[in-house]
């Protein structure tokens, strides 16, 4: 009955005022102009519409979320600190060391950047899929993965040993060549970190594993060069 009255009322006042009121609603008004308020006194349908509109607006703020997260700022702070450090290193490197220490470095850095860029592009074109669902041939089986992880572990062990031997030379680098090796190793470590993050999210991706292995090899080679060249430099 009330609906019938409302409909009749709306029909009887279905003029510019009702349309204007509809326009006002579509404008997202939160307070009624005087003319619209006067219209509502004579038009029950529009008055009900306005009432319902207000109820939604009043209830909406209840959807605002608050919760304690004391660990969030420290987490953000830490990630920002890493990012700032990386940017500083990059600017320093690009501005001075990169020009100073020749083409060999530029080629290595460019290769690493290309690998990462290629990897990024590859990831965009080949979004991660569940290996168990589609059995994609680019994904590794459990047994192959075990073997690769054993190889990676062997590389890491070798790299650890070399790192221990090379550490005193690199940390106390006085010659430009050793300082440049130190920067190169930092860059490689950063690339390894990024790749490891990708691998952690998708352990069965053969492409990622291959890239990681290549970078491990590059680190191993660089450490060997440090030990070899370092003895001449010092």
């Amino acid at each position: 009955m009330a609906r019938q009255i409302a409909t009749r009322s709306k029909e009887s006042t279905m003029n510019v005022d009702c349309k204007e009121f509809e326009n006002l609603l579509s404008e997202g008004i939160s307070e009624l102009p005087d003319a619209a308020a006067a219209h509502l006194r004579n038009c029950r349908a529009c008055a009900e519409e306005w009432q319902a509109w207000q109820e939604v607006a009043q209830a909406a703020p209840a959807l605002r979320k608050t919760w304690e997260s004391p660990e969030l700022w420290p987490r953000i702070r830490q990630s920002l600190a890493v990012e700032v450090k990386r940017a500083e290193r990059w600017h320093w490197w690009r501005g001075g060391a990169f020009r100073q220490w020749g083409l060999q470095w530029q080629a290595t850095a460019a290769a690493i950047v290309l690998v990462l860029a290629g990897l990024g592009g590859w990831m965009m074109l080949h979004p991660t899929r569940d290996a168990s669902v589609d059995g994609d041939r680019r994904l590794l089986t459990e047994s192959t993965l075990d073997e690769i992880e054993r190889n990676e572990a062997a590389y890491l062990k070798s790299i650890d040993k070399l790192s221990q031997l090379a550490a005193p030379k690199v940390q106390d680098a006085e010659s430009p060549i050793l300082a440049s090796y130190r920067e190169k190793l930092l860059l490689i470590d950063s690339a390894i970190g990024e790749l490891r993050n990708q691998v952690d999210r998708n352990r069965f991706n053969a492409h990622l594993r291959q890239e990681l292995l290549l970078i491990y090899q590059e680190k191993q080679r660089t450490l060997e060069e440090v030990l070899k060249d370092g003895s001449h430099a010092n």
């Binding site: 519409e49 009043q58 209830a59 959807l63 605002r64 991660t128």
Partner: protein, 193 residues
């Protein structure tokens, strides 16, 4: 690398803050977090659906602010620019999640925090939350930013890269849908307001 010259529209104090952010000053970022972190979390939670993804989105947004502060041109306020980054980050993450369709996402829904005002299990809030979640993305984003978070249409237009008129139309459509759903699904809840 340095910042471009200060745009005329930006106040000196804001510019100093921007310069500090550009230099990677952690106290400057902390100030940003203190001023906007709470609202950023709420927006992200409503867009992402759970606190864990929301916090990830906020963290990622701060990194993006640092990486792209140089491109801030002062066409909008710093805060609007930051919220724009946040909203885009959330939308990107959601797209990525949909593409990857990770099964564990279904389990993250339980970590939705207590709301302000109405109690967690208030029928109207629960109904509204459910209906809002079912809205088309475009309508939901505008509704959340305008009615829940209190942004102006001009700010929403800037954040979502749409016109003010489009923002108003989307809000109108969202409220029309919500009003219809609420009337049908929870007449008792409406009376409890």
């Amino acid at each position: 690398m340095s910042l471009p010259p200060k745009p005329a529209a930006i106040a000196e104090e804001d510019w100093q803050h921007i310069e500090a952010l550009f230099r990677g000053s952690l106290p400057a970022f902390e100030r940003l977090y203190q001023e906007h972190g709470g609202r950023m979390k709420s927006i992200a939670c409503n867009l992402m659906g759970n606190t864990s993804d929301a916090e990830d989105a906020v963290q990622e947004s701060f990194l993006k602010v640092y990486r792209s502060i140089r491109s801030f041109q002062g066409h909008s306020s710093l805060s609007t620019w930051i919220y724009r980054i946040l909203v885009n980050t959330c939308l990107d993450l959601k797209r990525k999640q949909r593409r990857q369709a990770l099964p564990e996402l279904a389990n993250t829904q339980e970590t939705v925090p207590q709301p302000q005002g109405l109690t967690a299990n208030h029928p109207l809030r629960l109904t509204l939350e459910k209906i809002v979640a079912g809205l088309d993305d475009r309508l939901r984003n505008v509704f959340l930013l305008f009615e829940v978070e209190g942004f102006k249409h001009s700010e929403i237009a800037d954040m979502l890269n749409i016109s003010e008129a489009a923002s108003k139309v989307a809000l109108y459509q969202a409220k029309r849908e919500l009003r219809g759903w609420l009337a049908r699904s929870q007449p008792a809840a409406r009376n409890q307001l």
